[in-house]
């Protein structure tokens, strides 16, 4: 990573901010100020004079940090929510030559995303190149930069705080010569897609499973829906119809006492902080008559065959007996 590249990003802004809730926007600054004021007021009830100092210091600190956020122009990608758990860091680098590159990024949690694009210089070897970042096809304002050629490459970097579901999309770095790299952010996809319907019988129960790939101790929230592409209805556990059992990476929906109305599409949704993914499962409900038809057909064939075989054998043995009698008669005649 280039040391001077840091200045291209908004990282300096973040470094000065307190680690836990420090990326406070204007709203949260006021809330934090109110909180500390309340605390100081509480202390003021016990010891009057010293409390002024106690009130002054935190308020001053807050004002200075809040002030700093207000002076810098807020970037659309930089509006963080009120209180956020510590974000993990995720870094992706792409080296471009002459073709566009698409990179798929699987997000399971909120992240600070460092994206770096390096364009290898062509024969022209221009000293400078302009580039900008775009999100979902629209250029991010104030992201256009002129980059100098260094070690045969033009490098551009940016930090994106993916702090909510709305921030998930496709981020691209676009260079002047129309070469671009797309970073497609998405929640994890279901790997096992079941294209055959689950079949079950009326009055029986059926278990629809959903499994997501991931690490062992990851705990997911699961939701189930019934419906079709356009209209989905949330399923909640009802004692005599549905039973949902979710455990970490798997979830099972048990439908009890099936009827024909229960047939259709069911969707299981794995809910992540950055969004959710759905997996459709088709349920087909049939009566026992369906497999009974081939069963009875084969049984009838078996019974018929057995009867035919026994009849043939009886006939053959009768023939042998009559032949044997004829032979005896002939022998007697000869005698």
């Amino acid at each position: 990573m280039r040391p001077d590249g840091i200045t291209n990003t908004e990282m300096s802004h973040d470094v000065t901010v307190k680690p836990d809730g420090g990326r406070a926007g204007a709203r949260s600054c006021a809330a934090a100020a109110e909180r500390s004021a309340r605390r100081s007021r509480g202390r003021r009830m016990k010891t009057m004079p010293a409390s002024w100092k106690l009130l002054l210091l935190p308020t001053l600190l807050l004002m200075t940090s809040c002030g700093r956020t207000d002076t810098k122009t807020l970037d659309p990608t930089q509006t963080p929510p009120a209180s956020v758990p510590p974000l993990a860091d995720l870094k992706r680098e792409v080296v471009l030559k002459s073709e566009n590159v698409t990179e798929n990024i699987e997000l399971r949690q909120l992240v600070r995303l460092f994206l770096e694009c390096s364009l290898t210089a062509d024969q022209n070897k221009l000293p400078n190149m302009t580039a900008f970042w775009s999100r979902d096809g629209q250029e991010i304002p104030d992201s256009r930069l002129t980059v100098a050629l260094e070690k045969e490459q033009y490098g551009i970097q940016r930090l994106f705080n993916i702090t909510s579901e709305e921030k998930v999309g496709t981020y691209s770095c676009v260079f002047e010569n129309k070469v671009r790299a797309d970073f497609v952010l998405a929640t994890p996809r279901f790997r096992e897609k079941r294209d055959k319907p689950v079949v079950s019988y009326v009055h029986d129960f059926v278990v629809l499973p959903c499994k997501m790939e991931g690490s062992e101790n990851e705990s997911l929230t699961w939701l189930w829906f019934k419906g079709n592409e356009t209209h989905k209805e949330r399923i909640s556990a009802q004692p005599d119809r549905f039973e949902i059992r979710s455990q970490n990476l798997t979830s099972r929906l048990k439908l009890i006492n099936l009827t024909f109305a229960d047939a259709g599409f069911y969707y299981c949704a794995a809910v992540y902080a950055v969004g959710s993914t759905m997996n459709p499962i088709k349920l087909k409900v049939i009566t026992f008559w369906e497999p009974l038809k081939p069963f009875i057909a084969i049984l009838i064939a078996v019974v018929l065959l057995v009867v035919v075989i026994f009849l043939c054998e009886k006939q053959q043995s009768k023939k042998k007996v009559t032949e044997g009698n004829e032979e005896n008669v002939d022998q007697n005649n000869i005698k």
């Binding site: 099972r252 369906e290 497999p291 078996v302 075989i309």
Partner: protein, 426 residues
């Protein structure tokens, strides 16, 4: 087998004619029993999902069926002997069909153990041994070839049934698939109907002694030849099932892809069929017929050697010849078991002897895969399992070769004492 009341004059084994129909029936019996047993593992995923059970709980079903089929083999051979092979097979067909029918309505895994494990296993046991014994009655010159064709049913049956079962489960879920399987297994009754009894010349002399003591019926058990054979079968059964169970996990752990590992199993199955038929035909040739027992010993020993060298084979290119060799010799010895047994005890005791032989397979079949699994868990590699399997197979071959050696010595002694006639069972 002997329809004890018939007083017809015995015929020499036809070696053809209706005999081929009997071979076809035995083939169908092997398909409906052994192949169906092997394909039960296809239902595991469905049972796990439906009843919320673990893999080990569902794996008991296959072990139960296999064990009960072998454990009750003497019952089957007894029924076949007392009444007739036809009665035994038809009864077995009805029982196993009912077992599968009841399991399609099952509401718990324990009930499945009872219906699909015990009842179906008992039905299979009633069919398997009498059918094999009847083939031995109908053939003498081409016995090994007939057995080879008959026993190839398990391989060909698995090949055909596996995709058919998958399709049935997709269309009708496991309940419907079991229902249709029970109708398919009912074809055992058709096979039974075709199994005409035959009295072979050897047996007419015995037919006059109808009131045989049950003890003297089992007198062959005390023959030292048969005892040696029995011990070797115990070792054989301990070693032969392990590679089938652990080849795919071993291949996967050696870094071979899923498709290649599945291909290894398919090759094993197909070459098994080839081994059944070709080895049967080979050992029927006049030059090899007197040395049938040695051929059997050779095939078991070769299998054992393959297993011993298996842990050294760490790539697909090396495991492919292993699969081919192992599959061929596995098919070879399976076709020869009834032949070797009939060579040792004689055709008149074949039915009961086969019952005892398959009974001896039961407990090793049940115990050796879990023991192999325990070895894998403890040593965290598959070397121990393959070595165990190879050693058991080699021990079986060694015991039999010792038996052959002792026999030869005895024969030389008896030839020297010229008064005693040479042993009649050759």
């Amino acid at each position: 087998m002997v329809a004890g009341k018939q007083k017809s004059v015995g015929v020499s084994p036809p070696d053809g004619g209706w005999g081929w129909v009997i071979v076809g029936c035995c083939f169908m019996v092997t398909v409906c029993t052994r192949a169906v047993t092997r394909c039960i593992s296809i239902f595991y995923v469905e049972f796990q999902g439906h009843f919320g059970a673990e893999y080990s709980a569902t794996a008991w079903i296959h072990s139960l069926v296999d064990c009960i089929t072998m454990l009750c083999a003497p019952v089957g051979s007894l029924v076949g002997n007392r009444w007739s092979c036809r009665v035994a097979v038809m009864l077995g067909g009805v029982l196993s069909s009912c077992g599968l029918l009841l399991s399609s309505f099952s509401t718990s895994l324990e009930l499945l153990y009872l219906t699909m494990g015990v009842l179906t296993g008992l039905g299979f046991a009633l069919c398997y041994t009498p059918a094999i014994a009847l083939v031995g009655c109908y053939f003498q010159q081409r016995k090994a070839l007939a057995y080879g064709i008959a026993m190839s049913g398990s391989g060909i049956g698995t090949f055909v049934l596996a995709p058919v079962l998958q399709l049935l489960i997709e269309l009708y879920s496991w309940r419907g698939a079991l229902l249709i399987m029970s109708a398919v297994v009912a074809n055992l009754c058709v096979c039974g109907a075709l199994m005409r009894p035959i009295t072979v010349q050897e047996q007419t002399e015995e037919a006059t002694y109808l009131q045989l003591d049950s003890l003297s019926e089992y007198s062959f058990l005390l023959q030292p030849d048969f005892l040696g054979l029995a011990v070797s079968f115990l070792f054989l059964a301990s070693g032969c099932s392990l590679p089938f169970v652990y080849l795919v996990p071993y291949a996967l752990s050696a870094g071979i892809s899923h498709q290649h590992a599945a291909f290894l199993m398919s090759i094993l199955g197909v070459i098994d069929i080839v081994g059944n038929i070709t080895f049967g035909w080979l050992t029927d040739q006049r030059c090899l017929k007197p040395h049938r027992l040695s051929c059997y010993i050779l095939s078991v020993a070769m299998e054992g050697l393959c297993c011993i060298f298996a842990p050294l084979l760490q790539s697909f290119r090396l495991l492919l010849p292993f699969a081919i060799l192992y599959g061929y010799f596995d098919g070879a010895y399976v076709a020869l078991i009834p032949v070797v047994t009939s060579d040792v005890v004689g055709a008149k005791h074949l039915s009961l002897a086969l019952g005892v032989v398959y009974f001896l397979h039961a407990i090793p079949y049940l115990l050796s895969p879990p023991i192999g699994g325990l070895l894998v868990d403890i040593t965290e590699s598959y070397t121990g399992t393959f070595l165990l399997s190879g050693t058991a197979l080699l021990a079986s071959a060694f015991i039999l070769s010792a038996l052959v050696g002792i026999r030869r010595c005895r024969r030389q002694l008896t030839v020297e004492h010229a008064q005693l006639p040479p042993p009649a069972d050759r």
